[in-house]
């Protein structure tokens, strides 16, 4: 192929191809189709290879962006993948779920004039290409140190800790409560944003590196942190933000009302969309209401749409401008036909005599004075009540840290939201040899911040295990 000279920043930014909205709203296949080789090389040619690497500095896990992009341009995809692996072992995941528009792509010097280099799409392309062509080799691990580390949970933060510490020669065991590894990557994020083969491949790479992965063990219940501490030198807690926040509206116990955790777990982990081929059902009925404005609400609404009801309505109490969800996900949801009711909040859920949800009483809001977060506080408009007929409703208004480990571990300091208190740079908790990171510390944050915490904790744990500090 005739490829453009590098750099040619003025070439139009390529956002990648997508499944057509009309088709994709009824399947669970990946929405973003990504790049082919030619598109990737062309997009890579736009990179200026800036000396001060603003993109790399903005990346939570400091992927060597200009270098890997240059290797893509040179069509040396194996080397490009290896370059990413130097700092991040999970590029196929990050390339899909990282909000690049707030990190590397926001820092790209081309952003204002031409649009940034599509770094996320290039990362994803590189990782997928390397995987499909057998170019991914597990990184070499240092000789065994004889030190043992337990990682609690198998979500992004634990995976990052496990990878880093295994590379350094420590024996790592990962404990997962569910039957699939990956934490939120398996039960939370829908397959149309993150295909499960990608998660399984990256988890399997840890296995190939010699990480021991144990499913079906719920630390805090099946075995306590104290018991683990007898068998392991260090325990890292990455148990996530698994506790759903209720709306505390009357009627929340009606049949048909789900927390986003339950709804997404049924659809994603249990694959209820294949019922009765698989055995776990998920009832949505003809009319679904989703409450919330974050990524979880978008995921819930888009999953609900794919279960083929007549209508999916999303209620958000502020306006689109205040929505915490990624812009791209809001657009995807709108394209797929989800009906958005902004400045609207549910106040009461009404059921039939069998205790099933029938309709949702809503109220219109207006934006008042700014609250503690700086966002304008929504205030109900008097007399604006109205009803939405509804067979099911998903509450997606946030998660807080899963409390089980905190409740069963004496001396582990927590904050008033139940999050484990840690020293930010190291993940150290109030207990010696116990570290924590990701959503169990931050509450519902992002996959990338969870991985960043994991990398930082791994560094501190390694120093402790090699007797350098503490």
């Amino acid at each position: 192929m005739e490829k453009p000279k590098k750099p040619t920043p003025a070439i139009k930014q390529n956002h990648g191809r997508h499944q057509d909205p009309a088709g994709r709203r009824s399947n669970f296949e990946e929405v973003a189709l990504g790049f082919g080789l030619e598109e990737a090389v062309t997009e890579a040619s736009r990179c200026l290879n800036c000396k001060d690497k603003p993109c790399e500095l903005a990346c939570p896990v400091n992927v060597k962006i200009p270098e890997f992009v240059d290797l893509v341009y040179k069509e040396d995809l194996g080397a490009a993948a290896s370059k990413i692996f130097e700092t991040s072992l999970f590029p196929a995941i990050c390339g899909r779920v990282c909000p690049q528009e707030t990190y590397c792509e926001a820092a790209c010097v081309l952003k204002d004039k031409f649009g940034p280099v599509s770094i996320g799409r290039l990362e994803r392309f590189t990782a997928d290409y390397a995987r499909k062509n057998g170019l991914v080799k597990p990184p070499a691990c240092a000789p065994d140190t004889g030190k043992k580390v337990a990682c609690v949970g198998s979500g992004p933060t634990s995976l990052a800790v496990a990878a880093e510490l295994r590379k350094l020669g420590h024996a790592v065991t990962v404990f997962e409560a569910l039957h699939e590894f990956g934490g939120v990557l398996s039960y939370g994020i829908p397959t149309f944003r993150l295909p499960r083969e990608v998660v399984r491949f990256e988890v399997d790479m840890l296995r190939r590196m010699g990480v021991r992965l144990l499913k079906n063990v719920m630390v805090g219940k099946s075995i306590t942190i104290e018991e683990l501490k007898k068998d392991f030198d260090v325990v890292y807690i990455g148990s996530g933000a698994g506790l759903p926040s209720p709306m505390n509206a009357p009627g929340e116990d009606l049949v048909g009302v789900y927390s986003s955790n339950e709804f997404l777990t049924r659809v994603n982990l249990m694959e209820a969309y294949k019922f009765p081929v698989v055995d776990t059902p998920c009832y949505v009925g003809r009319r679904v209401v989703v409450v919330g404005g974050g990524n979880t609400a978008m995921d819930s609404a888009r999953c609900a749409m794919r279960l083929k009801p007549e209508v999916v309505t999303l209620l958000y109490r502020r306006t689109r401008a205040e929505m915490p969800a990624r812009g791209e996900e809001v657009e995807n949801a709108m394209e797929e036909g989800i009906k958005f009711e902004f400045l609207t909040a549910p106040v009461e859920l009404e059921g039939d005599e069998k205790g099933r949800l029938k309709r949702v009483k809503c109220v219109r809001m207006e934006l008042g004075a700014p609250d503690a977060t700086g966002r304008r506080r929504p205030v109900p408009q008097k007399g604006s009540e109205f009803y939405i007929e509804s067979d099911s409703l998903v509450v997606a208004i946030g998660q807080s840290p899963n409390p089980v480990i905190q409740q069963t571990t004496a001396g582990l300091s927590t904050n008033k939201w139940g999050g484990i208190i840690t020293e930010e740079a190291t993940g150290k908790t109030s207990l010696d040899g116990i570290y924590a990171g990701g959503d169990v510390v931050r509450g519902g944050a992002t996959v990338l911040l969870a991985m960043k915490d994991g990398k930082a904790a791994a560094k501190a744990i390694h120093e402790k295990l090699s007797g350098k500090v503490n």
């Binding site: 065991t173 409560a177 569910l178 039957h179 039960y187 021991r212 144990l214 499913k215 079906n216 063990v217 719920m218 219940k221 099946s222 075995i223 068998d231 698994g242 506790l243 759903p244 209720p246 116990d253 049949v255 048909g256 789900y258 927390s259 955790n261 339950e262 777990t265 049924r266 982990l269 249990m270 694959e271 294949k274 019922f275 009765p276 081929v277 698989v278 055995d279 776990t280 059902p281 009832y283 069998k354 205790g355 899963n402 409390p403 089980v404």
Partner: protein, 292 residues
């Protein structure tokens, strides 16, 4: 033999399988970690195979030495029917646990256990632990009919007194567990605590039977459960006017504070889908038989 509780070798193999009735089977499953950590009141979540449902079942017995745990499963829907078709040497794809909050074992004095149907199996480890803790243990075992009555002998071995009731009178006395309870109270039996496991409607009436006597009463709640780790809230129950998660806070709760009517409604959530799934399973299996 000392087992490595972190080993995955042989996990979830069925070491022993016994049919207790046409629909109820006992499985002894290899899982050294669960066997080492199990306490009365703990449960596990079983999956028969990839794609299978997560089915919560209370542990009936465990043996740390052998690395095994025992569960008793009643075939009600597709998943449990499939599980009971397993043979010795087959494997469950997943057994998660132990889960839940174990029951506090202490000296009450006289403890009454009331088990209904397959709930008798789940009552067994609790009654046994109370007996071992020095309590006088009386058990009332209820079943629809004689062929659905399980563990009568085992319960007798660990109880001071066992009363059997069946709906049709085919075993023990004809009537409901609450009839037997009323007679116990009428005979001047002083009961210091009661534990009940069985159908929701039965537990509701057991709670009503002990309420006038102010007997502390605990019921093992069985809502629809998904992950069993406190993550989804699907198993929420109302106890004392507050939401509780049966999977992590329970499954045993104060029966006098439990909203059984809400639980009855919520357990019916998937009845249609459950029936559909079982019908399809039955149809497929008949077809296969028809091929021979």
């Amino acid at each position: 033999m000392k087992h490595d509780i972190y080993s995955t070798e042989g996990l979830y193999r069925i070491e022993e399988k016994e049919d207790l009735s046409p629909t109820i089977s006992r499985h002894v499953i290899f899982s050294p970690l669960i066997a080492a950590k199990a306490r009365p009141g703990h449960f596990v979540i079983l999956r028969s195979r990839p794609g299978g449902e997560r089915i919560p079942v209370t542990l009936v017995d465990w043996n740390a030495e052998a690395g095994t745990v025992t569960v008793i499963i009643q075939a009600i829907g597709k998943s449990t029917t499939e599980m009971n078709a397993f043979k010795q040497g087959d494997y469950f794809s997943d057994v998660a646990g132990p889960l839940g909050t174990p029951v506090e074992i202490k000296k009450w004095g006289t403890v009454l256990g009331v088990g209904g149907g397959v709930g008798i199996a789940e009552l067994y480890p609790i009654a046994k632990a109370y007996k071992e803790a020095g309590n006088r243990v009386i058990c009332v075992l209820g079943a629809r009919s004689k062929d659905l009555l399980i563990l009568e002998r085992q319960m007798e071995a660990i109880s001071d007194k066992v009363i059997v009731t069946t709906d049709d009178g085919s075993a023990g006395r004809k009537g409901l567990v609450t009839d037997a309870m009323k007679d116990l109270y009428a005979a001047g039996e002083k009961i210091d605590a009661a534990f009940t496991i069985g159908p929701v409607i039965m537990m509701k009436f057991v709670a009503e039977a002990t309420r006038p006597h102010a007997t502390p009463t605990f019921a093992s709640l069985n809502p629809v459960m998904l992950d069993g780790t406190g993550m989804c809230g699907g198993c929420r129950v109302e106890v004392g006017g507050k939401p509780k998660f049966a999977c992590v806070d329970g499954p045993m709760f104060d029966a006098h504070l439990t909203n059984f009517d809400l639980l009855l409604k919520r357990t019916a959530a998937y009845r249609e889908q459950e029936k559909d799934s079982l019908d399809r399973y039955a149809r497929d299996h008949e077809c296969r038989i028809g091929l021979h």
